[in-house]
Symmetry: C2
Amino acid sequence: MQYIPAFSKLVEEFEKLPGIGSKSAQKMAYYIITSDKSVAKSFSDALLDAKQKIHCCRICQNITDKDICSLCADEKRDKSVICVVEKPSDIDAVERTRDYNGMYHVLHGLISPMNDVGPDDVKLSELLVRVSENDVREIIMATSPNVEGQATAMYIAKLLKPFDVKVTGLALGIPVGGSLEYSDSITLARAIENRREI
Amino acid sequence: MQYIPAFSKLVEEFEKLPGIGSKSAQKMAYYIITSDKSVAKSFSDALLDAKQKIHCCRICQNITDKDICSLCADEKRDKSVICVVEKPSDIDAVERTRDYNGMYHVLHGLISPMNDVGPDDVKLSELLVRVSENDVREIIMATSPNVEGQATAMYIAKLLKPFDVKVTGLALGIPVGGSLEYSDSITLARAIENRREI
């Protein structure tokens, strides 16, 4: 790559994006340089505008450009169930099921001592306040089924013990449409363990 | 995806980048929103800065932040050979070979009547001026070996007929390390046609 400081800086910024390697970053930087001036301007404006207008919902910590997000503001949703997720995009995944009508709580991270992320680094105290101040019947821990996700779910379940609230986790098993032959053995063991009557 | 205008606009901007689909664009937008304010600011600055400082080299139309690019300014390079490429990143590919020491000319596009790109839409007149005003011995047409690339090479070769200049094209054949068994038949036919004594 030819060394032009402003170009290298732009490539560097693209490389910071999730899933972007140096080759893709160069391609994107060339695209910006060889496009019309308005492309860079509108991109730059969108970045600053989004960052300035969007913040966390006062209640559930989901992203929003209002004081409380559209999900918390929706009167038709069941306020007695809270689904706890790691990040805002996980809400989209749950909403896509069209099968859940409760509230959410976004932790913005998972507890991970290995990566120096403790309970105070995620939005946990906000969840405890919600549970203590409102009439919450159930907390669904929908963190990912990996080490950090499970540890975080366990930790939160323990913290919620003193409250009169049911804490549940997502079912683990073979995916719909999946094949038994190609299932990994841990997942299959869980599916057998959690088998249900039909 | 939750509808927040500033967020949707940001996703839209990411989607414009080459090779980015809606899923990746959402991921990147979420990354910007959940990162520190400085991330968006420095990204935005890099975009505007690059677009403001970088322009085309007066001579070869390569990108540069000076009046003429570092390759044109290099006194050690052979001024009598010009390698014609489609876009600035193609120069990187040729330079990586460490096997070429001549000049370049960037067309910024390929002639393509199907896509409404005519000879006046690429930096062709600048090439003709260079050839007529300087002592150029050879033009290497290094456009990609696809329909537009070949058509552009043919068109330019025809335009250069009146000048006392040799016009060459890159050799087509099976790639080094490639396998005969898996070569496509058009490439293999070209490799046989252009066979050389060893």
